[in-house]
């Protein structure tokens, strides 16, 4: 096992190992040019970088919403690239995901959305008839309480505000009892105050459940505030990988280019 570059997080092992990851949407034009990242088993790892640099692609390669071109991604040592069919679905249920635009099913209730996090576990008839095991329903209520929406179980998702929707999104992801949680710009559609509240919630709940988080985030200040480790990407490559304290002006210049904005 290779050690995590610059050994940022406390030594509690690596949960996710990415090696030489390349993604080309068009042949010969790689969006990701050989990414090597090791994600520690706890805490938040933030990926920062300019728009279009492949942050979202990187995160989506992990749960294979995007198909990597080459390279290796292992979760607890098990290879994720190349999985197909049932094996891929079994891998996906171990990986929670929170989306920029929440991606709740608008016309389903909050409870149905949260319980959909169990779809990788329950048999088809239970899913169709909404006959989830009592244990799942109890956990769903517990998570709704935890994200601060105790009274909203029977409301339709499209009746919620942005902040509330993202809280449901977090509950849905945690419902999977994931081994890792991916968050793709989870706060970019929220106002600054709600963004901080949602990030605090995400940090607290994932810490309580011991779930490591990879988060794509535009806001460098928020990244520094919440992450234990920051990965700076530019032009499809990792150009910074270390704790937030080590991220300095010249790194930001290298990541985003220019300097007038600093």
């Amino acid at each position: 096992m290779t050690a995590a570059p610059r050994a940022a997080a406390p030594a509690s092992g690596t949960v996710l190992q990415i090696k030489g990851l390349v993604k080309e949407y068009a042949a010969g034009k790689p969006v990701l040019k050989g990414i090597d990242v090791a994600v520690p088993a706890e805490g938040i790892t933030a990926i920062i970088g300019p728009s279009g640099t492949g942050k979202s692609t990187l995160i989506r390669c992990i749960n294979r919403l995007v198909e990597p071109t080459s390279g290796s991604i292992t979760l607890h040592g098990a290879e994720l690239t190349g999985l197909r069919g049932r094996e891929l679905r079994l891998a996906r249920r171990r990986i929670g995901m929170v989306f920029q635009e929440y991606n709740l099913v608008e016309r389903l209730t909050v409870m149905e959305n949260v319980l959909s996090g169990r779809l990788g576990y329950v048999p088809l008839w239970r899913a169709w008839l909404r006959k989830y095991p009592e244990e799942d329903i109890q956990r769903a209520f517990m998570l709704l309480d935890a994200v601060g929406l105790p009274e909203h179980a029977t409301r339709r998702a499209d009746a919620l505000s942005g902040g509330q929707r993202q809280r449901v999104g977090i509950a849905r992801a945690l419902m999977q009892r994931p081994e890792i949680l991916l968050a793709d710009e989870p706060t970019s559609s929220l106002d600054p105050r709600t963004a901080v509240e949602v990030l605090e919630l995400l940090t607290r709940l994932t810490a309580a459940e011991g779930v490591p988080v990879i988060i794509n985030i535009h806001n460098v200040d928020l990244a520094k505030r919440f992450a234990r480790r920051i990965i700076g990407m530019s032009g499809g490559s990792v150009i910074f990988d270390g704790p937030p304290e080590e991220l300095e002006q010249h790194h930001l210049r290298a990541i985003y280019g220019g300097e007038d904005w600093l």
């Binding site: 679905r89 171990r94 989306f99 991606n103 099913v105 608008e106 779809l119 576990y121 169709w128």
Partner: protein, 263 residues
Amino acid sequence: MSATTSQPRRLAFAPNWAMRAALLVLAIYTVWASTRLGLTWDRVVHGMGEGGRLLARMVPPNFERWQLLLEGLLESLQIAVLASAIGILISLPLGVLAARNLSPLWIAGPVRAVIAVCRSLHYVIVAILFVKAIGFGALAGTAALVVASVGFIAKLFAEAIEEISMKQVEAIRATGAGVMKVLAYAVLPQVSSRFIGFCLYQLDSNLRNSTLVGIVGAGGIGGTLFAAFKRFDYDFVAAILLAIIALIFLAEIISGRVRAALR
């Protein structure tokens, strides 16, 4: 000021000479065609007189043979309901398979072709084919309307599915859900109310259409109507027409209520 006047006038809207020419040609052709068909004023007056005599023979409507009328109506209703139910059941999987955002092109293409074939022939022609193939009666009418229903709503289903938000599909896929679970949780919730609207609409038009297939011998009130026409029983014809109109109105009111309740 003087500098601007020397420039050529700027056009806010480009003149569409092709469109103007096409409209002119259309107008000329319309006038010419009406002269060719012998649509003279005398012919119109003559037609009006004939129509008046027909109307006079239709009133008062004759409901004496109400049993025959009711029997025909019920058969039409049964044809319509059965054809709609079977058509919808067939259209649901076909619609999903034909949606290009969910199924690969090598499946969606052929399925779309099947749906297009169902649509391409008018249902009366299909009814004639079925009468020739499987004999007179309600079975032929039902089969014809099933084909018509599939051609129509499977296409609408597919188009509704193609308009859904793939973000919701992506989120459900990310939980590890398989195809059937994705359909139940990410696709159906987004399209179900529109699907029900399409189904009600199809039931409406199947009711209308089922009154006609009888004319070619495929069962229902249409057969009774055609027989009454041939025997010049215009008062009975009027009774049948009134009954059909009442049935369609009733269906319209009920489906309107259902639609409103779904909103």
